[in-house]
């Protein structure tokens, strides 16, 4: 059974069908790419998958569980985490605190224990710190643990956003244009990071990307969206060589 199974998803804003009859299956451990021209509805698909928008039609299943009508928080707890096209870190918080926000659901203690520093507080905070440091090490951010997130260089902010998403221990990771605004060196490093996440956590990843080098370099399968509809779906190479896909991206002669 596929980890993520999306059937006939549609949403309309006014008269505009932003996503129309969208279906997708991602197997566990796959690295899947979602591509398409600007305005094709890629980020809308992410917003539907994470409960930011509710679809007019269609079903979303994660690991067999129907999550279509769940809200954002429940979907996160069910196992989908994401990053954003424009980085949305908690900029006024330190690097480690950003990751710890992602961990809060897994470590329980009451506010009173927290203020008085008694009961489960010390053990839980220590466990959270250790867990957060483990994640930061994987992403090579451990030496910057107390730096304010806004003071990190751009590439590292991207990494921190992925680390924060991983802290919620997802089954599926959604990356929205992770290479946006990056130079070729940073993009190469990002590709290594994504490969690392797959290896370390055996993670299933769905990513939106415009950088064709990144897409053809790491994605195993692709779905091409155009005007909210699926234009082509399949193995990366075969999709990118398709004349219709080339036409959608480059226009007709």
């Amino acid at each position: 059974m596929a980890l993520l199974q999306v059937n006939n998803l549609s949403i309309a804003f006014g008269g505009l069908r932003a996503v129309d009859d969208f279906s997708l299956e991602i197997e566990k451990g796959e690295l899947y790419g979602l591509i398409g021209p600007n305005g094709a509805g890629k980020t809308t698909v992410f917003n539907l998958l994470t409960g930011v928008y509710k679809p007019n039609e269609g079903i979303i299943r994660l690991d067999g569980e129907d999550i279509t009508r769940k809200n954002t928080i429940e979907i996160n707890h069910a196992g989908i985490a994401r990053t954003f096209q424009n980085i949305r870190l908690f900029h006024q918080m330190s690097v480690i605190d950003n990751v710890k926000v992602g961990l809060t659901e897994r470590f329980k203690y009451s506010g009173i224990e927290g203020v008085l520093h008694v009961g489960r507080y010390k053990a839980m905070e220590k466990a959270m710190d250790e867990e957060a440091m483990k994640l930061l090490k994987v992403f090579g951010l451990d030496s910057e643990r107390d730096v304010l997130a806004s003071n990190l260089p751009y590439g590292k902010q991207r990494k921190l956003e992925i680390a924060r998403a991983m802290a919620t221990s997802p089954k599926l990771l959604l990356l929205d244009e992770p290479a946006a605004g990056m130079n070729p060196n940073e993009t190469a490093e990002l590709m290594e990071t994504i490969a690392l996440v797959r290896k370390e956590f055996n993670m299933t990843i769905l990513l939106i990307e415009h950088d064709m080098k990144l897409v053809s370099g790491i994605c195993e399968k692709l779905t091409v969206l155009n005007f909210g509809r699926v234009l082509k779906q399949g193995e990366t190479k075969e999709v990118l060589d398709d004349p219709e896909v080339i036409k959608a991206y480059l226009g007709e002669d």
Binding site: I73, R88, Q92, T104, G111, G114, E125, T168
Partner: protein, 294 residues
């Protein structure tokens, strides 16, 4: 010597403003709304203490605990019933006007239950205070307790926000509600918690305010509420240390200008300062520059 007494009295009044302003600023920072009924929560707290002390048990401590619990419930309920349904409203004015409505509702409810006549409140602080320099410098017990209480509140609040995960969740929601939700943070619970803390603080502020100025009326919360709002804006709304500094400065300015300039003009001076600060530094003393997303 008398200057020192006025300064300490100002510090004490400022501490009360600061405790109220903390409620304003936390709610604004996290729920992005101005709870104009916040001042009336103070009034509710005062009447609860008054009722319990004069009729039921007579024990002030029980009165304060009851006021804190009732105000907390009132704050959380108000948020759930009146503000939460409007959180997604097209205009942020909807919830602002609702808050003004809640304010009038509480004032008139108190008028209905307790009547319009001014009741006298007996101080929750029995201690007479200290005197220095052979009796020249007398500081009242309630003044000292007020200042100490505000210091303790500030410390506990900072510990809570920076050292606990609920506090971190508050900071996360304050900065980016959407991203916090997508990271699995329960935003509704976080906002409820904020209202609970702010309202509990209002009850404590009420106990202190009425101990220093012992006349009880249904409108007693309105003016301190507005001044605490000024303090929060002055310090930079959304900032906790800002609310504290804003409150203290306002209290000192009010008492000193009432003493040395004119008691009629003191409020005008307080609000005048707000205008000047906003002209020079629109985000307040410690406020952060807010960048509009494009």
């Amino acid at each position: 010597m008398s200057f020192l007494v006025y300064l300490i009295n100002g510090l004490s009044l400022g501490s009360i403003y600061a405790i109220i302003a903390l409620g304003y600023t936390m709610v604004y920072g996290i729920a992005k709304m101005l709870n104009f009924a916040h001042g009336d929560f103070i009034m509710v707290g005062c009447y609860v203490i008054f009722t319990i002390c004069s009729t039921l048990s007579g024990n002030t401590f029980v009165g304060i605990i009851a006021a804190v619990i009732l105000c907390t419930l009132l704050g959380v309920t108000t948020e759930k019933v009146a503000y939460k349904p409007l959180r997604g409203a097209a205009s942020p004015l909807a919830v602002l006007i609702t808050a003004i409505g809640v304010s009038y509702f509480l004032e008139n409810l108190a008028l209905l239950i307790f009547g319009a006549d001014i009741k006298s409140f007996s101080s929750v602080v029995a201690w007479q205070g200290l005197s220095f320099a052979g009796g020249d410098l007398k500081i009242q017990g309630v003044t000292i307790v007020t200042i100490l209480t505000s210091v303790v509140i500030l410390i506990v609040l900072q510990l809570f926000i920076h050292k606990t995960k609920e506090g971190q969740a508050m900071l996360a929601v304050a900065e980016d509600k959407g991203a916090a939700m997508l990271m699995g943070i329960n935003v509704n619970k976080t906002i409820s918690l904020t209202f609970a803390i702010g309202s509990a603080l209002a009850a404590i502020a009420g106990a202190l305010l009425c101990s220093a100025y012992p006349s009880l009326s249904p409108y007693l919360g309105a003016m301190p509420g507005i001044k605490a709002f000024v303090a929060a804006v002055f310090g930079g709304i959304g900032s906790i240390p800002g609310a504290m500094i804003g409150g203290l400065v306002l209290g000192i300015v009010e008492i000193l200008s009432r003493t040395y300039i004119s008691s009629q003009l003191s409020d005008a001076i307080v609000f005048g300062i707000l205008i000047v600060v906003l002209l020079v530094k629109p985000t307040g003393l410690l406020g952060k520059k807010i960048m509009e997303k494009v």
